[in-house]
């Protein structure tokens, strides 16, 4: 094979893309996948360490995350080049659009690449101060949200529409119906409902992918905080790029998607993602990557034009102070409107916002599609966090799946009996629109569906024109706010019973 290592690297990218997407696809009832859905995110050191640091807890994925960092110490930033599915997206787009050179000048790009370290430092200091901001730009959660909340629903909806169309209008019913019903139990699912704000999530990812027009891997070089973390670990990487008789033709530097090769043909280990392009671009065919026998990298210490030590320390202090202040504020005002219902078991809004990495797992696994991503409705801090929207779906009484798939324990892992006693909110009957209270009609659908064994919705009987009418009354002490009453209430456009936090 001509470019053996490039082919192997591409194979690895395809494999991990498919693996991650497959795990995300398996994040659905009845959670029978071999790999737990949280695994995608709990191997991510940025998410795991910063969440753990900001909340002062030990998280289950930490050992794996430590291994990931150690592997970067040995191999360098291979994760970015060989594993990261978002990085693969960029490579795919660049290949599809036949982009072989960066549009922006290399000097500008090399100057900007410090930004990602600054971002990582800010995130680390905020975490030390107790505010988790790793979710903002972590590539795995961006990818996870994109796949779980836009791609999978769109693909299933399209597939469903095609199959149903064939059955309804092309006469394939007798042929397909049984197969279709079998598929509904597996990959097709029974819900093909779109998530709210899915268009925004899709557009955001599309914009990210469009940055390949400025430079291939623009994001990885300049923004990605996970890339920065791996870059920091890769500075002392064991695996090194070695060039024997270099002719200084400069082809490798032009070819390099990360701009890791300096004009003087040395290379920056923290930027190299081991894509292996330079091995085959080398005119002298003398570029190799090797573990041992490589001459030590010449130490080059340029007098920095960056900030002074004093400025650096001051900056750190200011960030810490800001972080602490933010945490204080959060503690005083979990400034939430009462209609934002959090998933079952969430107790403290501040802790929840801090722990949630916005990966979308809980929303993708929710069997009723009741959990939906917030946009800016609850401010920046609430971006992409899940809320229960009973108008769309309720919290299934015997279901604890959201806690099972949460990578950071933002939604606690509860057993069924415990979860059934946790309060999400409390239902309130609107007597102005309720069929039983206002129109004196038979209904009581809310009481019928109430899953609390001794019924949190009680019936009072009123005799109207000689007919007994059953009217619902909420027993606030028993109501857990699962919202099934609101989902099933037949009154439209707004249901006559609504759940809110108290």
């Amino acid at each position: 094979m001509k470019k053996k290592w490039v082919a192997i690297r591409r194979g690895s990218q395809v494999f991990f893309f498919a693996l991650f997407a497959g795990i995300l696809w398996s994040t659905a009832y009845p959670l029978r996948g071999i790999i737990p859905p949280a695994a995608v995110f709990s191997i991510d050191p940025l998410l795991v360490f910063f969440t753990a640091l900001s909340e002062r807890v030990v998280l289950p994925g930490m050992a794996a995350a430590v291994c990931m960092v150690l592997s970067a110490v040995v191999l360098g930033r291979f994760f970015c080049g060989w594993v990261c599915p978002l990085g693969s997206c960029f490579d795919l787009w660049a290949a599809a659009l036949r982009i072989r050179r960066d549009r922006l000048p290399p000097r500008l790009l090399n100057g900007l690449r410090r930004l990602k370290f600054a971002g990582l430092a800010v995130s680390a200091l905020l975490a030390a101060a107790g505010v988790q901001s790793a979710w903002v730009a972590d590539p795995l959660v961006i990818f996870g949200r994109f796949i779980s909340l836009t791609v999978i629903p769109a693909l299933t909806a399209a597939l469903d529409a095609v199959l149903v169309g064939l059955m309804r209008y092309a006469g394939w019913g007798p042929l397909l119906l049984d197969l279709y019903r079998q598929w509904q139990r597996s990959f097709l699912g029974v819900h093909t409902v779109f998530f709210s704000n899915a268009a925004v999530i899709f557009a955001a990812t599309a914009i990210l992918c469009a940055t390949v027009l400025a430079a291939r891997r623009f994001w990885c070089r300049i923004v990605c905080p996970l890339g920065a973390l791996y870059a920091a670990a890769a500075f002392s990487a064991r695996l090194r790029r070695v060039v024997a008789g270099c002719t200084s033709c400069g082809r490798c530097a032009r070819e390099c998607r990360m701009g890791a090769i300096e004009p003087d043909m040395r290379y920056n280990k923290g930027e190299c993602v081991l894509c292996m392009d330079c091995v085959y671009a080398c005119a002298a065919q003398s570029t190799r990557f090797m573990f041992f026998g490589a001459p030590p990298r010449p130490v080059k210490k340029k007098p920095g034009k960056g900030i002074s030590r004093r400025q650096f320390l001051l900056g750190c202090a200011a960030l810490l102070a800001a972080g602490c202040r933010g945490r204080q504020n959060g503690r005083q005002t979990p400034a939430q409107r009462p209609e934002f219902l959090r998933p079952p078991g969430v107790q403290d809004e501040r802790v929840f916002l801090n722990r949630c990495v916005r990966c979308g797992n809980c929303m993708s696994v929710c069997p009723t599609r009741g959990l939906q991503p917030l946009f800016f409705e609850a401010g920046l801090a609430g971006l992409w966090t899940p809320v229960l929207v009973p108008e769309r779906g309720y919290c299934e009484f015997n279901c604890v799946q959201c806690g099972r798939v949460c990578p950071t324990g933002a939604i606690p892992r509860l057993d069924v009996a415990d979860k059934q006693s946790r309060r999400i909110g409390t239902a309130v009957v609107n007597r102005q629109t309720c069929l039983a209270w206002h129109d004196k009609k038979e209904c009581i659908v809310c009481e019928e569906h109430c899953p609390v064994p001794d019924k949190a919705i009680k019936v009072v009987w009123e005799i109207v024109n000689g007919v007994r009418v059953a009217q619902p009354v909420v027993d606030a002490a028993r109501c857990i706010g699962c919202g099934i009453c609101q989902t099933k209430c037949p009154v439209r456009p707004q249901r006559a019973i609504r759940v809110a936090r108290r």
Partner: protein, 326 residues
């Protein structure tokens, strides 16, 4: 791909030619006789449909009541005492068994039909030579959870029945020859396109109708905004029962929920009359089951409406009743 824009190879079709071909092709296809008319038996077109043709099959008795400790055998023996399943199920026919799978509860919680009763019915239908046994219900909780945790999915698959989730696009709208609140209501196609319809409810408490019995169980074949059926539920259920016309009604009163129905959840609310009721008149079967709970027909909206409409019979004293113990 270094080719410029100007030099199209001569063998390629020009754009104008291509568009002409497309347009004439489309015109040709759209002028075909059947293009705009949908095929007659297209699935899922919301055609309106009249009521299921009634076969008026009578059993050996009006009601057979089987008591015992084994719901499977009770069901088998009770149907046998009715004159055998052969009266109701013809060879190579399509049978619908409609249990209650409405809730995400286990069989012990008595919210769904006992899977053993369903298993017995599948077995005797298949022995009678049924080509296909369809089982479905529109559930209240998540359908996958209900099908699994009720135990009915596993039983159906094991005993060779087809169990599936009803699809909202695969419905027929009800057409009544008389004034009805159910006029135009979407009914799942399978419920109407079958040779034999066996209704297998579980008897249990219900907040609005006091008891959920066979007539209430038929709500599971309806699509649409089902909550609205609760308005004037009595007459609507009579119309629905008239429309579906179940050939055989098997009421599972082996375990029953006596309080906090239809969702239940607590084993304290479950009692065990250990009774299976088989009848051909759903009203009569329901009246008998109501009496097990100590309720009179006039307390139950749909039985009251049945009596006012003279639909079926609520008078169990006049019925030919046969009791067996298994």
């Amino acid at each position: 791909m270094t080719q410029g824009f100007g030099d199209t190879p001569p063998h390629r079709m020009s754009r104008r030619q291509f568009m002409k071909w497309c347009a004439s092709g489309l015109a040709f296809v759209s002028l075909q006789k059947n293009f705009w008319a949908q095929p007659a038996d297209a699935y899922g077109r919301a055609d309106s449909a009249p009521a299921r043709p009634r076969k008026k099959i009578r059993g050996a008795y009006d009601l057979v009541v089987a008591k015992g400790n084994d719901p499977y055998r009770q069901t088998v023996e009770a149907v046998a005492a009715m004159g055998g399943i052969g009266r109701f199920v013809a060879k190579n026919s399509v049978v619908v068994i409609k249990p209650n799978i409405g809730w995400d509860r286990t069989p012990e919680q008595a919210c769904n039909t006992n899977p053993q009763v369903v298993a017995a019915l599948i077995d005797i239908c298949r022995q009678a030579g049924a080509k296909r046994v369809n089982i479905f219900d529109r559930t209240c909780n998540d359908s996958r959870r209900c099908y699994t945790n009720s135990g009915i999915e596993r039983i159906a698959q094991k005993h060779g029945a087809q169990i599936f989730f009803p699809n909202d696009w695969n419905v027929l709208t009800a057409r009544f020859p008389y004034e009805s609140g159910m006029q135009g209501w979407p009914i799942y196609r399978e419920a109407l396109e079958c040779d034999t319809f066996i209704n297998v409810p579980v008897a249990k408490h219900h907040g609005l109708t006091k008891l959920t019995l066979s007539m209430k169980n038929l709500m599971g074949v309806c699509g649409g905004n089902r909550g609205m059926m609760h308005v004037d539920i009595g007459p609507k259920l009579v119309d629905l029962t008239d429309f579906i016309g179940p050939d055989l009604t098997v009421i599972d009163a082996y375990r029953v929920l006596v309080r906090h129905g239809p969702q239940g959840g607590s084993l304290e609310d479950v009692e065990e009359p250990k009774t299976i009721i088989v009848g051909t008149d759903p009203v009569l079967a329901d009246s008998y089951a109501a009496q097990l709970f100590g309720s009179r027909p006039e307390e139950i909206p749909y039985l009251k409406a049945s009596r006012e409409r003279k639909f079926g019979s609520v008078d169990i004293t006049a019925a030919a009743l046969h009791e067996i113990t298994v």
